[in-house]
Amino acid sequence: MLKVFTNKRKPGITEFVYFCAGSKFLKMRIFAIHDKMVNLIRSNHNLLPVVNRFGIRLGFRDKTIGEICQASNINANFFLAIVNTYTNPDYFPKEALQSFSPLLIIQYLKKTHQYYRLYVLPKMENQLDQLISGSGENQHKLNVIDAFYKKYKKELLNHLDYEETTIFPYAEKLINNPNKVNASYSIMEFEKQHTNVEVQINDLKNLILKYLDPVYNDNDCNEFLTTVFNFERDITDHARIEDAILIPQVIRIEKELAG
């Protein structure tokens, strides 16, 4: 049974969503517009890169999420939908998310790609290089893993390119210039090429965790794995937004245009 408890002393402040059956409770904290931005980050600091994608930067003082969004011309409801679904993988209000303009979603996805290309991938690569060069004799095994990583990186970048050069412009055109869209194309054509990049990052993680020989620097390895874990979480959320929100939205628009 789902019960939603709000704090009556402070109306409009954070909702705790309780799921209960018998005596067991599972608590999800869903942030709302009157919550302080600083508390959002305190509850999940992994959101820092996520809020950066909206152009939000530090020095929050005691401002609320609503105030900061308004000052930066950001759709607060969209911001909340993104950060709440990112923090709670089981929370995914599809219909609410699909009600936002695809253009907003694409803008967010593009910023995420930038973060991956310019920061995460180079960092992962540096950390892997560091791990390999610090391991001396164990080079052979790690070289194989390095080869796997390079292959994965190539496929991932192709996937990101494909979205940026094909899927996103197509969706934008459907909304801004529907008359100029070729009626015989469909997003389903694009979907056929959707590669499962999350599978490979999970494999990379498991290969190292399960099958690496203990001849390596612990800290170097942990740093690399931490980056992989964080990236996996981020890209899984990213893929979920693309697959469950953007693609269905585009399909709906295509249907509407077809009449």
Partner: protein, 193 residues
């Protein structure tokens, strides 16, 4: 052999109804709960679980549980007719008792190997299949080489993935190399991957 059944549905009536049907067929433990509490359930790596789950709930939790269990088969409980999520099977509120039991039979017979193999130690056959997968052979070519059916090849590949926790072909290739299943003295491993 199935270790336990889990019924995850928000409706108490559906839970009780399914429980009544399954109890006379399955002698082991049957857990009923709301799907929102799924993450609290603990599953060990030696267990084979069959989970009946209501449409629209916690795909993230299910994926996590899939990784915890030795084998997790999922059955979606839908309202209409169509399978919506990424589940192994699907039943609806209009399904009959015999349809549901048929699915359990299918799962049991397809996982017959389960009690025979433990941990991630691959059988001889599985290693043979893995080596060929790593060398880039297609399912058909593997079937021909080993004189087995394609269906059997696919079954072996599924088992291999479940045991080693690696899904992609290049990942399996790396596994094979790291565990000395492939002779890399003459081949450059990097080319294989």
């Amino acid at each position: 052999m199935i270790s336990k059944l889990i019924i995850a549905h928000t409706s108490e009536i559906v839970r009780k109804g399914l429980l009544a049907v399954l109890k006379s067929y399955f002698p082991g433990e049957i857990i009923t709960l709301s799907p929102l509490n799924l993450s609290a359930i603990e599953i060990s790596a030696t267990e084979m679980i069959v989970l009946f789950c209501e449409s629209g709930f916690g795909s993230e939790v299910l994926n996590q549980k899939k990784q915890d269990a030795a084998v997790l088969k999922t059955i979606e409980i839908v309202n209409g007719n169509e399978k919506i999520g990424e589940f192994d099977y699907c039943i609806s509120l209009a399904s009959t008792e015999s349809e549901i039991v048929k699915i359990l039979d299918e799962i049991t017979s397809s996982e017959k190997h389960f009690s025979e193999n433990e941990g991630d130690e691959l059988t001889v056959r599985e290693r043979e299949v893995l080596k060929l997968v790593a060398r880039g052979f297609s399912n058909k070519m593997i079937a021909d080489k080993l004189f087995i059916s394609i269906h059997t090849v696919i079954s072996h590949r599924k088992n291999i993935t479940e045991k080693v926790g690696i899904k992609s072909i290049s990942g399996l290739t790396v596994y094979a190399i790291l565990n000395h299943l492939i002779d890399t003295s003459e081949i450059n491993p990097e080319d294989l991957i």
